[in-house]
């Protein structure tokens, strides 16, 4: 096991810079997820850690040792790819044993290790099959098996679940998490799916356009997003953003929204963020018109509008409202996030909770 330090890492392809000097540290045994929209440089960063991409600037260290110029096989890492990348002409057992064979491991040891990994992942009965004869989930498990047998210090995953269907994805999510609990190997996991990030990570690194926007535990990021991007990226349904201003200790806008704001804020244009589950229905709240009603059984999602302000509300249970109806809306002031309208950064405020 080992810690991974990324220090001011830059990646350029020719003259185009795609990673702009990012720094972060992954502790020994930690499960860290790099998350961000497609094209933000997550894979590039991961591949630099793996040694598949040359580092254009800064340093990547594993276990305190700079590995910029160390070959991938000597970095003590194992990687699981999005498209499994199994060797199609080798059986499951041969796929898993390939790295051991190259390392000159003895036959017995090889069999023992492959057997162990297969047992861990429930692949014992599939060892003689070829990848083409396996389902997507089984292939992904073989790919993980191939990583496990090497007993690496760091696991790297690049969107390992994005080719699986939704149900299998949930199941594999749990399996990967359980695997980490058991092996306690430092893991860096890339995904564009914020649900995966929220549910699996010890800590999340949110990236955008080649920079790190924020690092923290899933709940930290959910509760105190550092800027509009992080606030909008994490959480489902997406946080509501309402343009308005601070006036007389309250957040106000022209469409009748009024929420108590924490004290000590200058009167200025701001954007308020409030999660849909903290928007409530009440007779004497701000008046909104119902646009869409989406019942999912346990809860109901409403799309509401007043003037130019559109909101999503997620309320428990069922509501007897039709589109076109008028309804009063209240906001939980404890769940109010305020962002500077120009820079999009979170406004310093007393933590209300």
């Amino acid at each position: 096991m080992a810690r991974v330090d990324i220090d001011n890492v830059v990646k350029r392809y020719g003259t185009v810079q795609v990673v702009h000097g990012v720094s972060t540290a992954i502790e020994d045994g930690e499960f860290v997820i790099l998350v961000g929209p497609s094209g933000c440089g997550k894979s590039t960063l991961l591949r630099m850690i793996a040694g598949l991409e040359h580092v254009s600037g800064g340093t990547v260290s594993i276990d305190g040792e700079v590995v910029n110029d160390v070959a991938p096989k000597d970095r003590n890492i194992a990687m699981v790819f999005q498209n499994y990348a199994l060797y199609p002409h080798m059986t499951v057992a041969q796929n898993m044993a390939f790295s051991l064979k190259l390392a000159g491991v003895s036959r017995q040891e090889m069999q023992a290790k492959v057997g162990n990994a297969a047992r861990t992942l429930g692949l014992e009965t599939l060892l003689d099959r070829f990848p083409g004869q396996l389902s997507g989930g089984q292939r992904q498990r073989v790919a993980m098996g191939r990583a496990i047998v090497r007993d690496p210090e760091v696991f790297l995953f690049d969107e390992p679940l994005s080719n699986l269907d939704a149900k299998l994805r949930v199941q594999m999510r749990a399996e990967i998490k359980a695997l980490h609990q058991r092996l306690k190997t430092t893991t860096i996991y890339v995904t564009h799916d914020q649900v995966e990030a929220m549910t699996m990570a010890d800590r999340i690194v949110v990236m955008r356009d080649g920079i790190i926007e924020q690092v923290g535990t899933p709940l930290d990021l959910y509760d105190t997003p550092a800027n509009l991007f992080v606030a909008g990226f994490l959480g489902s349904p997406t946080m509501n953003f309402i343009e308005g201003r601070i006036e007389g200790g309250r957040f106000l806008n022209d469409d009748g929204v009024s929420i108590a704001a924490p004290g000590g804020l200058p009167e200025a244009p701001v954007i308020a963020g409030i999660r849909p589950n903290l928007v409530g229905l009440a007779d004497k709240g701000s008046p909104f018109e119902v646009l869409v009603v989406e019942p999912t059984g346990a809860e109901t999602q409403l799309v509401l509008q007043a003037g130019k302000t559109q909101l999503v509300a997620l309320v428990q249970g069922r509501v007897a409202l039709q589109p076109g109806a008028s309804v009063g809306i209240t906001f939980d002031p404890a769940g109010l996030h305020l962002f500077d309208r120009r820079t999009g950064t979170r406004l310093p405020q007393m933590s209300p909770s």
Binding site: A50, L52, P72, K73, L86, H89, L102
Partner: protein, 281 residues
């Protein structure tokens, strides 16, 4: 042709079009098969009979075959052809696959230029370069040797091009997985790339073998020693020596055609595949 009913044409129109296409295909096939049938027919005819316009020989005979095999060192020519074709095929595939892989995957300065240079040789045919090639081979002292026949036939831009395109289409992740597993370039080529190229190598092997089996101009040019003659040179020789031994020539041609036909029947699918993947025809 789709199985779904067409929105724009009635069923009878579709049948009509299909009939027309099949007739055209049948005519084309006949045009290609007819010379083969004629060749086979003549090979069973006697010398006097050779020019009779009937497809079925009046008095069929095996005499031509017996003559070709016993009176002329035709078996020797066959053995030469087999040796040359097999050697060229094996050596060419080995080098072509390495070259194709390097051009597809390794990054080195001048890669595109080298590829372009190789590719451009597709535009130049053998007769154009045969004189300089002959001079070079003579300077290397390879006239009248197997090496002289074999070595110049090994280089073939088509094979390199086809393999390069194929390697470009392989998912990169597989090779990256191998890199992480600790494989170097050579190991990746040998343990991952080569096994994955089996289908295309099989197809190319057939094409190369056939091309060399049918080679005439270069073997004729480089080897005057009769012991080194390949079958096509041997066949052509019936013409000069016996002025018009068409019955022998056709018997020899029939014998020579048999291995290629057998190869084609066995490997039909791979041949089709290779033509399809190359996008060339």
């Amino acid at each position: 042709m789709t199985k779904k009913p067409s929105l724009y044409f009635s069923a009878s129109q579709v049948t009509m079009v299909r009939l027309v296409w099949m007739t055209v295909a049948a005519i084309l096939a006949l045009m290609i098969i007819f010379p083969l049938l004629w060749m086979t027919s003549i090979s069973f005819k006697t010398a006097q009979d050779a020019f009779s316009p009937t497809l079925l020989p009046a008095s069929p005979t095996f005499g031509n075959f017996t003559y070709v095999i016993t009176e002329v060192p035709f078996v020797r020519y066959m053995a030469n052809s087999l040796f040359v074709s097999a050697t060229v095929t094996v050596v060419a595939l080995f080098f072509h696959s390495m070259a194709g892989y390097a051009l597809a995957r390794l990054r080195f300065p001048g890669r595109e230029l080298i590829f372009l240079a190789i590719f451009s040789t597709l535009l130049v045919s053998l007769p154009v370069i045969i004189v300089p090639l002959f001079i070079i081979v003579r300077a290397m002292g390879m006239l009248n040797t197997y090496a002289g026949i074999i070595v110049p036939s090994i280089f073939n831009a088509f094979g390199i091009f086809l393999l390069r395109q194929y390697y470009l289409s392989l998912p990169r992740e597989i090779e990256e997985a191998a890199v992480i597993d600790g494989a170097g370039y050579w190991r990746i080529y040998w343990s991952v790339i080569l096994p994955l190229s089996k289908p295309i190598l099989a197809a190319l092997a057939i094409l190369f073998f056939l091309a060399n089996w049918n080679a005439f101009l270069w073997p004729l040019t480089v080897a005057s020693d009769q012991d080194l003659w390949v079958v096509q040179v041997g066949i052509a020789n019936f013409k000069s020596e016996y002025s018009a031994a068409w019955n022998y020539m056709m018997a020899a041609s029939t014998i020579v055609a048999i291995p290629t036909l057998v190869l084609f029947l066995i490997f039909q699918r791979q041949i089709m595949d290779s033509i399809k993947t190359s996008g060339l025809k």
